[in-house]
Subunit: 344 residues, 2 copies
């Protein structure tokens, strides 16, 4: 290894495969001082590499014979596709050859392979998928967004701890305001799972827990970490994506509804483009699966080269800051509480 | 009674109290052919009535001595505030003096009083709060949005049945496409509760169940009824409200970001105003609590007179169409299935 973070990139994943993943990974290696391992079909990777400028790029190719299809069950991928690019990527981390893996492929399979091949950090009950959403101020971290659909209160509790560590190290927030997503701001509001997790979070060591948040608080920007179970979190992120897309289409229709609005739209076009960039999901590239020995980043299937590059950039930053050590620390500092809640 | 629907309106509820609720109720009586019972402090009601034109308005005043405050527990309101405007309103329905009750007060207390004073229709396990959200096409009915935070699969199942009946009778949809909110479109995706409810919905009599919906599908307009538990539903509606408000503020900031965008904004202003009206929540006025003997409509605390009027209008339409009879019918047609699921 070169001293640089080594990032394994599953080039076979995503809607566009090697043609966008390879250039994205190569860009990350050049711009963000990482060593990338391009995992997949060597021939296809070489075809893409020939189109690129490879000066100053540290990379290796790691052959993987199999590809995971979107309709496969995560458990089947784990059992049967030992040579799939995602399994090979996770094993590179497990063996210590790579520090992190990035994939835009089957997200369920990536989560399963990350969890079972790379393994969990000591004390972590369930790794959590975190995502960053744009708000009116700074981005907010929401977790879990789909790795754990049926949760117990101590799972939610640990999501808060891991979200805190991530927001501090990767987003640079000094004392992240950690909330649990509920249906009222007052203590005592929520379903039974949330109410119990609230009790644990109040007692947590070393985090700035500020209570319940409601759905309407997420986008204002006054909270930094939002805890929820993976079912709720997945609904939330897909819904915000869907609502933003629908509103965008509706606003476009407003501009096309007459001559004056159309003229207005032309005048405001540049400003809208700048705005669109500020709420662009590709800025963060992907959703980190937190709590692993190493790190896996799950990218959107529709990721373009820029999203892949940013995901690899985030992975490199995570490794460089040794963010897992803070995460392990806060999990251990709260181990008694977790164990107590698990026992009752 | 006059043959007209009789709607009890809790005039003490909401952020603005009698000053907006009384004119809203009076407008409903005049424009939508209802007889309204203004429930609350007689003196305050009379003060408001003096400001209004009461020609052709059928109404009565029903004195209620107590007012419910927002920080009270629903169970305390139910036990101790027998003379609160919301309890008196619900009793008017229970006794057969009114057909429905409308309140913009404490929503938890309204749900509790509706459930325990008015009682459930035969076979209904849990009344559900339904709301209508604007989409790119026709409005979609989402339920439950907060009456039941901890649900069993057969509760979700019955929400689907009640949502179907409501969409047919009140929105006039011929064969509403009923979905369950989940984290993937394929059968077998979701948490354990959703997966079991899916099995029940597949077997349901007389509804057009079309499978799972994801968060991103809600606002496109290709589904008509979305089923979820009250925790998820409450998060969803508050989040969509919050995201829409945040995006609106951000778009305004775009228009103020320079001379050209500002000019563009002026040209498009009228078209945007028309658009804002199409996604205005006050159009539906409130969220009906379905499954009761009678009907309760829970309005937003911030309701203006127009929202109250539209809530009373919806209540009157509900009564006129005898929508509870269809609801009771579909619940009974699926009683065996509900009972089976409850037993396992």
């Amino acid at each position: 290894m070169s001293g640089r973070p080594v990032i394994a990139v599953d080039v076979m994943g995503g809607d566009f495969g090697p043609s966008v993943v390879v250039p994205g990974a190569v860009d990350a290696a050049r711009l963000h001082d990482a060593h990338v391992l391009l995992v997949g079909d060597t021939h296809k990777i070489e075809v893409e590499l020939r189109k690129l400028n490879l000066a100053d790029v540290q990379f290796d190719i790691v052959q993987a014979d199999e590809v995971v299809h979107m309709n496969e069950k995560p458990s089947d991928v784990l059992r049967r596709k030992k040579n799939s690019s995602i399994q090979v990527g996770c094993r590179l981390v497990k063996e210590g050859t790579a520090n992190a893996v990035v994939s835009a492929g089957h997200s369920g399979a990536t989560v399963a392979c990350g969890m079972f091949i790379m393994g969990r950090l000591p004390g972590v009950e369930r790794p959590a998928l975190a995502t960053m959403l744009p708000t009116e101020k700074n981005p907010v971290v929401v977790l879990d967004v789909g790795a754990n659909v049926d949760c117990r209160p101590y799972h939610l509790f640990q999501f808060g701890l891991m979200g805190d560590a991530f927001a501090r190290d990767i987003l640079g927030y000094a004392a992240p305001r950690v909330c649990i997503l509920s249906i009222g701001e007052e203590e005592g509001k929520g379903n039974s799972q949330v109410k119990e997790a609230y009790e644990l979070l109040k007692l947590a060591q070393n985090i700035n827990f500020v209570g319940n948040a409601e759905g309407r608080d997420i986008f204002v920007g006054d909270i930094d970490v939002v805890i929820c179970d993976g079912f709720v979190g997945n609904v939330v992120i897909k819904m915000s994506e869907g609502l933003a897309a629908s509103l965008t289409r509706m606003v476009k229709r407003v501009f096309m509804s007459g001559v004056l609005p159309a003229l207005g739209g032309m005048l405001a076009r540049k400003a809208f483009r700048r705005f669109a960039r500020t709420i662009d999901y590709t800025e963060y590239g992907g959703a980190p699966l937190l709590g692993l020995q190493g790190l896996a980043i799950v990218c959107h299937g529709r990721s373009d080269a820029c999203a892949i590059r940013n995901a690899a950039k985030m992975a490199a930053a995570y490794v460089r800051k040794n963010a897992n050590s803070r995460l392990a620390e806060i999990i251990l500092a709260n181990e008694e509480l977790t164990r107590f809640s698990r026992a009752v």
